[in-house]
Amino acid sequence: MLDATPKTLVQVRDLKMYFPIYAGILRRHRGDVKAVDGVSFDIAQGETLGLVGESGCGKSTVGRALLRLYEPTGGSVVIDGEDIATLAPEALRRKRPTMQMVFQDPQASLNPRMTLAEIIGEPLVEHGNLTPQDRLKRIYDLMDQVGLNRRFAGRFPHEFSGGQRQRIGIARALALNPKFIVCDEPIAALDVSIQAQVVNLLEDLQDNLGLTYLFISHDLSMVRHIADRVAVMYLGRIAELSPRDALYDRPLHPYAEALLSAVNEPDPMLARRERIILQGDVPSPARPPKGCNFSTRCPRAFARCHAEKPQLSEVEPGRHVACFLYDTTAKAGPTGGPEAPRLKPAAYNQQGEHQ
């Protein structure tokens, strides 16, 4: 799907999203929930970047901060040449048609008192200047595109099933011919047999309209299907960002490895394999560990991991990992150097924690 040197459509640099904690009688600022803490990535035109991670890792916050549904605490988000994070309100409003969002819960993201035509047509009223006739024609076009029967235009959201509601949400996102769509867990609320329908629709639309997606999901198998590259997040930071096949064949970051190992494969032979079982829970983003965010649960953590935070760096062509195991420039620390090269990825699959 990728051309030789595709244009970068979305460029995120050091994005930070902190939610302040106020406590005590005087509601003093007592700290921050660092939901997103320095995230950087690019998305090329026409590409799908998968963003995976467990609940609370900040993946949805990234999606929302990207479209400035939150005011980012820091960093830049350049979409199609303009920095969304600092755009003035009126300029931002004019920019909105290029970037849209499909939400997780199709039940909650549609106004129950609006008809389907009103829901899909609302962005056209806000941002367009179509005559009512042209607008209705556009609404019908959109309904055709997402596979909704035109006869349903006057119905209300509660009359539709979950899969159909998600189609309405997609039609609304498409109304203004966006270039970039953030899909925030678009299939999480749907049944297995319906999920495939929605994913196929998203892929068809991408092919036909040249859309660029950020596909946020916790479903690693579905992300493998839809994404070109995948970013794995843990506690507000990207642990690994790799091309899809490379990541699934040979995850480099210990968290990415554990996460993939935890997925239940629908195959009794594979599902009963020896798995990496992580101990404990994800720490609170209000009190992240001092060193690497994953150091508290990492089966391969060593001294340096508890002291400093690893930065995301390219360790193989196209593969970015934030882990000291792959830090070839390691010179710091009393026992620093030797640990890193010892753990060659091939050897490292065999020394699973529970054996």
Binding site: E54, D191, R224, P266, D281
Partner: protein
């Protein structure tokens, strides 16, 4: 892994109907299955397929009205649970049958300590004193892998994470050493790495305690990992039942086949396009007189429109309710 010989639970022709303002909904339509001692039976199906309702109606957990039992037998230790009084049923629940619910956030009472909630069934069903129950509760917490059980026992549910709350739920369900444990989507609300922890725990507990488990889920991956035998439900009926390896290697019902194909894999070849099952699951407003899956089925025949297929054996411990899979042969 036992196979049929020594049955703990035997359900025959269970029918449950909900009476709503919009008419009747036939949620459970002549469901029959059995559970061997120490066996783990996986129940798969999409939302609305009747999997949870079947298990809840077994032990009378559905409010009536609107739920109404329309026949069948539920034999547990030689007694028909549908025939006994509410008082007797209450003694069965908790003591003989443990239940783990899907959402660990809402199924614990927020105003009681975790210890109190584990002790309640011990005092009620096992006749333990408070002091004895407290000791046992701490043991149970330790059993489900909560470290520092002696102090955590006085914590409230909000002080526990989702995975730990589900461990507490498991401890409560196990407290009276039940013969049957019914787990309704116990890992669905949890993250994958926490889910893996809980699955590992259940595998361990099975080996230690040897109770039979019914595991309800829509996740075929989970089923593949833990079940001995699988039952696939659709439209309030069992459409296929087989030993786990057999089901995944050799699915017979078109619905099972389609379901297995719609799930993308983590390994193996990546399909250019996902297989889909067109259409929506049915809402059963009447007892089925035709195959419930026919509208979405690629193998639909004339016969599917006017005859509801019955389950027929197609292999060892493997049966399927489909005119097409049975090759049109009459039973």
């Amino acid at each position: 892994m036992p196979d049929g010989g020594d049955l703990v639970l035997d359900v025959k022709g269970l029918k449950t109907v909900f009476r709503t303002r919009g008419g009747e909904v036939h949620a459970v339509n002549s469901v029959s299955f059995h559970l061997g001692r120490g066996e783990l039976l996986g129940v798969v199906g999409e939302s609305g397929s009747g999997k949870s309702v079947t298990m809840m109606s077994l032990i009378g957990l559905l409010p009536s009205p609107p739920a109404e039992n329309r026949g069948g037998q539920v034999l547990l230790g030689g007694r028909d649970l549908l025939k006994i009084t509410d008082e007797e049923l209450r003694a069965v629940r908790g003591a003989k049958v443990g239940f783990i619910f899907q959402d660990p956030m809402t199924s614990l009472n927020p105003v009681f300590t975790v210890g109190d909630q584990i002790m309640e069934p011990l005092i009620r069903h096992m006749g333990l004193t408070r002091a004895q129950a407290r000791v046992r509760a701490a043991e149970l917490l330790e059993l489900v892998g909560i470290s520092d059980a002696a102090t955590r026992i006085d914590n409230y549910p909000h002080q526990f994470s989702g995975g730990m709350r589900q461990r507490v739920m498991i401890a409560i369900a196990l407290s009276c050493d039940p013969d049957v444990l019914i787990a309704d989507e116990p890992t669905t609300a949890l993250d994958v790495t926490i889910q893996a922890q809980i699955l590992e725990l259940v595998k361990e507990l099975r080996q230690k305690l040897g109770m039979a488990i019914i595991w309800i889920t829509h996740d075929l991956g989970v089923i593949a990992g833990i079940a001995d035998r699988v039952m696939v439900m659709y439209g309030g009926q069992v459409v296929e039942q087989a030993p786990v390896r057999d089901l995944f290697a050799n699915p017979q019902h078109p619905y099972t086949r389609a379901l297995l194909k719609t799930i993308p894999s983590l390994h193996g070849k990546r399909a250019a396009r996902l297989q889909v099952i067109e259409g929506q699951p049915p809402i059963m407003t009447a007892a089925p007189t035709a195959c419930a899956f026919r509208d979405r089925c690629a193998q639909r025949m004339d016969r599917c429109d006017h005859e509801n297929p019955q389950r027929r054996p197609v292999g060892a411990g493997h049966d399927v309710a489909c005119h097409w899979s049975a090759g049109g042969v009459d039973a």
